[in-house]
C-alpha cells in the first residue's frame, strides 16, 4: 500500500471521523457532573461496580467519561500517571486540572487528526477549589476541543435534553441531596420516549444499583474524592430522608476508604503527607 487511491477532501475526512466518534459516544449512557454547595458531584448511569466511569485522578481532581471503555480507561491511567509524576517531581499543589486538560486535549486532537480512528470518548476533568467560584470543570471532546464549563456538564447519548434540564433547574449552592436528585431525575428521562414532550414525567426509575455516584468534597483534607454508595446513597436520593450531605468522616470498617456508605463513621483520619492527624 503506498498512498490513498482516491482524493478525499480534508473537510469530508474530518466530518466522517467526527460522525464516527459522535455515533460511538451517543450509544452510551450519560454522565452528569454538577457543582453543589460543598464540592462537585458526579452521577453516572452505570450498573457495573467494577468498571468505573468516574474516578480519582489526584487530591482534588477527578475524571468522568463516556464512550468506549478501553479508550477512556487508557486516558484515565495516563492522567493518573501524569498527575502522580507531576506531584512527585514538583509538589502536590502543582498538579492542576488545567494542565491535565491541556495534555488530554493535545492527545485527543493528535489522535483525531493523525490516527486511523478517533477516540470515541468524551471526558470531563474537574478540580474542586476552596470555594465554589474556584471549582473548575473542563469538558473535552473526541477531537480535542476543550470547554471550560460553569456549574454543570452532561455527556453521552442523552446529553442534550439533560443539559437543557440543568440549564433550567441547576443553581449554585444546591445541597448534595438536591444536586443528586436533580441529576438522577434528568438521567432517568428516556430521550427516545421523551422527544417532543416538554417536562414529561420520568419514564424510568433509576435506583442506587444502576448509579455510580462520587464527589470531590472541598472540605476534606488532601484526597477529596469519595464514592458514595450503600445506605448513604439511598438516603441522599430519598425525598423523605433528611440526609442532605456526605459525612465528614470515612467509614470505620478497616480497609480501603474510597466509598462512603454512611455506616459507623470513624473518629480520626490521617494524612500521609502532612504526617499529622487532621485537626
Amino acid at each position: 500500500m503506498s498512498s490513498m487511491p482516491f482524493y478525499v477532501s480534508p473537510e469530508q475526512l474530518m466530518k466522517d471521523r467526527a460522525d464516527y466518534a459522535r455515533k460511538g459516544i451517543a450509544r452510551g449512557r450519560s454522565v452528569v457532573v454538577l457543582g453543589y454547595d460543598k464540592g462537585i458531584a458526579f452521577v453516572a448511569e452505570n450498573p457495573s461496580r467494577a468498571l468505573h466511569k468516574v474516578s480519582e485522578i489526584y487530591d482534588r481532581i477527578a475524571f468522568a467519561a463516556v464512550g468506549k471503555y478501553n479508550e477512556f480507561e487508557n486516558l484515565r491511567v495516563a492522567g493518573v500517571r501524569y498527575a502522580d509524576l507531576r506531584g512527585y517531581s514538583y509538589d502536590r499543589t502543582d498538579v492542576t486540572a488545567r494542565g491535565l486538560a491541556n495534555a488530554y486535549a493535545q492527545t485527543l486532537g493528535t489522535v483525531f487528526t493523525q490516527e486511523s480512528k478517533p477516540y470515541e470518548v468524551e471526558i470531563v476533568v474537574a478540580e474542586v477549589g476552596s470555594t465554589a467560584d474556584e471549582d473548575q470543570i473542563y469538558r473535552l471532546t473526541y477531537d480535542g476541543s476543550v470547554a471550560d464549563e460553569r456549574g454543570f456538564v452532561a455527556m453521552g447519548g442523552a446529553a442534550e435534553p439533560i443539559e437543557t434540564g440543568l440549564k433550567e433547574r441547576w443553581e449554585p449552592g444546591l445541597s448534595l441531596a438536591d444536586a443528586l436528585r436533580l441529576a438522577v431525575e434528568l438521567l432517568a428521562k428516556d430521550p427516545a420516549k421523551d422527544a417532543g414532550k416538554e417536562g414529561g414525567a420520568p419514564t424510568r426509575t433509576l435506583g442506587a444499583g444502576q448509579l455510580e455516584v462520587a464527589v470531590l468534597d472541598r472540605e476534606r483534607p488532601r484526597r477529596t474524592f469519595r464514592r458514595i454508595g450503600g445506605g448513604l446513597l439511598d438516603a441522599l436520593l430519598s425525598t423523605e430522608d433528611p440526609t442532605h450531605d456526605a459525612p465528614a468522616e470515612d467509614d470505620r470498617t478497616p480497609g480501603r476508604h474510597d466509598t462512603l456508605t454512611g455506616e459507623s463513621p470513624r473518629d480520626e483520619s490521617t494524612n500521609p503527607q502532612t504526617q499529622r492527624p487532621t485537626e
Binding site: A50, H52, S55, E56, I57, N74, L75, V77, A78, V80, R81, Y82, D84, L85, G87, Y88, S89, N102, A103, Y104, Q106, T107, G109, T110, T113, Q114, R252, P254, G255, R256, H257, D258, R266, D267, E268, S269, T270, N271, P272, Q273, Q275, R276, P277
Partner: protein, 275 residues
Amino acid sequence: MTTGADAGRLPAAYLSTGSSSFTDFVGAHSPHLLPSRRALPVGSTMEAPHGTTIVTVTYDGGVVMAGDRRATMGNLIANRDMEKVFAGDEYSAVGIAGTAGIAIELVKLFQVELEHYEKIEGTLLSLEGKANRLASMIRANLGMAMQGLAVVPLFAGYDLDKRTGRIFSYDVTGGCYEEHDHHSVGSGSLFARGAMKKLWRPGLSADGAVSVAVEALYDAADDDSATGGPDVGRRIWPTVAVVGDQGVVFRSDDELRTTVEAVIAARQGNPGGAR
C-alpha cells in the same frame, strides 16, 4: 523537547497498558527522577547527613513505630528535629536509617507508589506486597549503598487480612525479613533492642507499646551519640506512629510530652529506667 504538531501530546509511555507501578513508569519514562538512578563517581565516598535509630513494637491489634529526631554528619549534628517515621499509606508506616537525603526521597517515592497502585487498580496492595515493593526499591539502591550512601528502612503495617500488626526489616541488598514482636534499626539499635527485649511482653496495649518504644529510644540515646534523646528545652519529642485497624495515627506533641516526662521522671536517680 520534541517539536511539531503533537508536541503537547502525552508521550506513549503514559498511554501504554500494563504496569500499575509508579516506579516502573518513572524508570521507563524519566529515570533521572528515581533516587537510585544517579551515577556517582567511581570509588569515591562522601559524607552526607545520616538518620539514626528507629524502633517498632507490636501490641495487641497493631504496631507502634518510633524514631528519634537527630541527623548526624560525622561528629556534627546535622539536624535536630528531623522526622524519620512516615506514613506509607493509610495502614503502614516506614522508618528510615541511613543517608537521609536518599532515604527521604525513597519514602516519597514509596508513598506515591502505594497511592498510584491504589488509584489504578482500585484496591489496596497487601501488606506483603507493600513490603516487597519497598524491598525492590532498596535493591535498586545497592550501587549507591556500596559507595557509602546506604538506606536501611524498617517497615511496619496493619495486616487487614490477619488483623495484626507486622514488622519487616531490610538489609542493604534489598533482603526483606519479617520480624516478630519488636525490632530496631540504625546506629542505636543495639541498645534499643536490649531495652525492648526486657520491656516487651505479649498483650501490650497501644499506650504500653508507645512507652516501650520511648524507653528504648531513651536507652539508645543514652549510649549512642548519634541518637538524639528527648529535648525537653526545645520540646522536641520522638516521632511516634501507631498503626492499627484505625490506620496510621501519629501521636500529638502533647501526648508525647506526657509520655516522655513520665519516662524522664522515672529515671531520676534510676538511670537504668523501667525494668
